[in-house]
Point group: C2
Chain length 531, copies 2
């Protein structure tokens, strides 16, 4: 059997098939031992321009990649040597060629205009270059003093974004709240859950951690359960309240009240509610105002997870989904999902920052204190999150807001919502298909109706599972994902990639329709054979 | 009073002093509503080259910035408008000019060759451009399927780096262990602490979470206490075992045993030991082998936090600090600190990945499963960390290892160690100063000896506090930080910035020496006046 093609390292003096190799090219020559050569300005400029062109070329050719690679586990590991090279390996340009030839073909291309799976990870010129700029500047703003402009810019952009999303004043700095930029929603939920837990334990005694209960719906992202587990909430004390199709899979305030009452009767302590605006599976919206009322009556903290749909709040026409949000304790959304702020960029706002600092704050002698920090209006963001070290994410978000403006972000969101409405219309107008849940944002959940003669939900689920497989193996076709909600298996078409245009959506529907028709034909043949 | 200079937004139709403004330049024209224009290839290329040149120019001029800005809280917030611009604000080039004119002057320049505070956040061409490349490609490899090459490259580079650092085989994939890339040490510690906690609670019953105890020294980074608090470990159950100057501030295995025995006698359960290689304050090294023995005897998990000094392990001459590491359960280090892999890049290895997955794993229906995932050797990294969404950090680390080679990294570390040895030598040869703790890596902890006639540690601390202030206000001088250990206040000179050369270290010493001499002279005058 022929060995797989290897990306191999060759070092001076290495031997290949018994013949000593002497690799001497301009690029392979070992650099001088001086550290400063690792950040040589001319070299940075030269290689940097190569990287920019590389990325631009990648975007330009994006449409031609299959969204998902057809590779099997080990395909890349088998190609790479078992150890890092001893000496610089054949130069920067060669590394970029290997990225092009060996790595890109093995990626799932989240920036493809035909990536409709999961939720988007939207890129933009300002977002990608904001990351590049922050990586180059490479400051670590864990305290105000550790990089004042980075901290202040973060405070400013959190207010900018909060206002752009129509968040209540109570969550913004001028209203006594405030925001911070983290990596992901799970981090955000974990931070506020710890703040809520510490506040509650201060009231009831820290030995009662095992009595604390968190609440969500059966549609809530696993991030909540993960955060609760990390925070030491007992595994039995996470109430996933069932939802139903009749109520669009939204969490029922009455059911929440019943659950909280039952726990109180059992001697347990309601701690935390995670409500969602735009659930992962079907983009369901929990009723914020009514849920806040129930939670408040039990002294529980209410967090809103709007990871995906939070971006839509830039448009006034979606503001109604936030009705009653004045009462929430915290709110998070991922600007890296649908708001052009390349991964990662999770925005978290809290109504009472002091509770966050009480839960997560540190004080250390080695941190240089200076007069600027004493009694002045500064934030040390290390006390607002899990991590101490942090990146300068605010620069990226500032660039995105500044370069596109709030109206530009609205145009962007509305374009995808229009495309999703069109996809929904096409599905609805084909009687072989059905839209399972009425679309609210840019996610369409749909399926093939089960053929009468096969009947039953189980058969419907099976045929739709096969449909998704058929759709996704089409190398020039779309990439979609699935959900199973209320026993119903459905396909998810989540529109939000920056490069997606109307034609990609139309073509995607064509593939779904063709594959669906083919599947139905095959089934009719097999059922007529059986009959 | 004149209003502060504002970075203002002007939109068509806005009014300034009652005069309607019509801003019409090529760059301010609103973009078409089409999303794809937000990622236009030509525009990306044009703006990308501007960003690369901007960063290169920043590095080229780095030496001329004061390391710390002289700004007061609010300096930037006051300049920025209260809301995001409605429409694109004056173009990309103008945004970069504002970064140059308003943001850079307010940063603490961690890449300055005169930044000797905290620990380094070392940049390199490959590290910065690796971040840029990953941000542009913008895939989200939370599962193998979600981007196979990204997951496999992470597995490969974790083995590469682990071997380069001389880690025991038991922590690498071929030995049954494995590694992952996270953001920070606190995240890493939290992940393994949760894994350890879940394993222990499975043995003793989950209601006993309040009985679990974690151990560290009084030198351990706050990250451990923060992680323990987040993980729901009782605040009283974090043992910070005192260290002393006679033992170089290392954790004593005998003291650890005493503490664990006492807890067991009190009905508590030893859970977790965080030992450190290279503590934050003085770079102390805890004795790994002996500590592992004590922890193992009590069934506790041993984690090694080598956030800073882990990078030095690329050099065989430092390998001895890891003696006995075969027995550790987990190990983490920050490749973004001293190993050129721009922030953030925390590498975590564990001996038994299954325990990590048991503690942090998720299973969700909506994630598309395919045959590749069933029974094959793939890792879904979402189950190895707090976060589900994650960045493609492996690309950056791969570029760093490939472009510099292990020998290149050794040269880099050794250059800084040599400079630190030289700084230590200069301090030692000036009788007014003393090195407080023998240097092991590239951190020198030193102070002015207290003048006999003033006497006492309190006076010594006060004069050294003033010395640090004097050193740090010198706008063309170095930026150092402080530690207070065993009652002794000392200055910390941490060498590790990529751009630092011998001359910067010599100049830094000259500033310290001059300021010290001046302080001593003033004190002599004031004491003679008093006498």
């Amino acid at each position: 059997m022929a060995p797989p093609t290897q990306i191999c390292h060759m070092n001076n003096g290495d031997s290949l098939n018994g013949v000593a190799i002497r690799v001497v090219t301009k690029e392979t020559a070992a650099p001088p031992a001086h550290s400063a050569s690792l950040l040589d300005t001319d070299e940075f400029r030269r290689h940097g321009h190569q990287v920019i062109d590389f990325i631009a070329d990648y975007y330009a050719g994006m449409g031609s990649y299959p969204v998902r690679p057809s590779v099997t586990p080990g395909f890349l590991r088998d190609k790479l040597p078992a150890e890092a090279p001893r000496r610089p390996d054949n130069g920067f340009a060669a590394a970029l060629r290997d990225v092009r030839d060996h790595i890109l073909p093995g990626l799932t291309h989240w920036q493809s205009p035909r990536h409709f799976a999961h939720f988007p990870a939207s890129s933009s010129t300002a977002g990608a270059l904001g990351e590049a700029l922050a990586a180059g500047i490479n400051v670590v703003p864990f305290t105000w003093t550790a990089s004042p402009a980075a901290t202040e810019l973060e405070m400013v952009v959190m207010d900018w974004l909060g206002k752009a999303l129509h968040l209540p004043e109570s969550l913004l700095f001028p209203g006594g709240g405030g925001g911070t930029l983290l990596g992901t929603s799970c981090e955000a939920i974990l931070c506020v859950l710890v703040a809520a837990r510490e506040r509650k334990l201060a009231e009831i005694g820290s030995r009662r951690i095992g009595d604390l209960v968190v609440y969500c719906s059966d549609q809530t992202h696993f991030a909540l359960r993960k955060a609760a587990r990390i925070a030491g909430i007992h595994r039995d004390n996470c109430r996933e309240i069932p939802t139903c199709r009749d109520h669009m899979f939204a969490l029922s305030p009455a059911d929440l009240r019943t659950a909280m009452d039952a726990d109180v009767d059992a001697g347990l302590v309601p701690l935390f509610l995670c409500a969602t605006i735009g659930t992962t599976q079907t983009a369901a919206v929990d009723p914020v105002r009514e849920l806040c009322d129930v939670a408040a009556a039990h002294g529980a903290w209410t967090h809103i997870d709007a990871a995906y749909a939070g971006s839509a709040l830039v448009c006034p026409e979606f503001r109604h989904v936030m009705d009653g949000a004045e009462a929430v304790d915290s709110f998070s959304m991922n600007a890296h999902k649908w708001l052009l702020a390349n991964t990662d960029c999770c925005a978290l706002w809290v109504r009472r920052p002091a509770l966050l600092v009480a839960g997560l704050g540190t004080e250390q002698e080695y941190i240089l204190k200076d007069s600027a920090e004493d009694g002045h209006d500064v934030v040390d963001y290390k006390d607002w999150s899990v991590t101490l070290t942090r990146r300068f994410r605010a620069l990226k978000l500032w660039l995105v807001l500044r370069c596109y403006g709030v109206e530009g972000l609205r145009d962007h969101v509305r374009a995808h919502v229009r495309m999703a409405a069109e996809f929904e219309r096409m599905v609805s107008s084909d009687e072989r298909f059905e839209v399972v849940v009425t679309r609210q944002f840019s996610l369409v959940c749909f399926r093939l109706r089960s053929p009468e003669k096969l009947g039953g939900e189980k058969a419907a689920n099976e045929i739709n599972r096969r449909l998704l497989q058929e759709v996704n193996v089409t190398s020039s076709g779309p990439y979609m994902s699935s959900a199973k909600v209320g026993g119903i298996y459905m396909l998810r078409c989540a529109i939000g990639s920056t490069l997606t245009e109307e034609r990609h959506v139309t073509e995607a529907w064509k593939v779904v329709q063709d594959r669906g028709a083919e599947l139905l034909r095959k089934m009719e043949i097999s059922s007529s054979v059986l009959a």
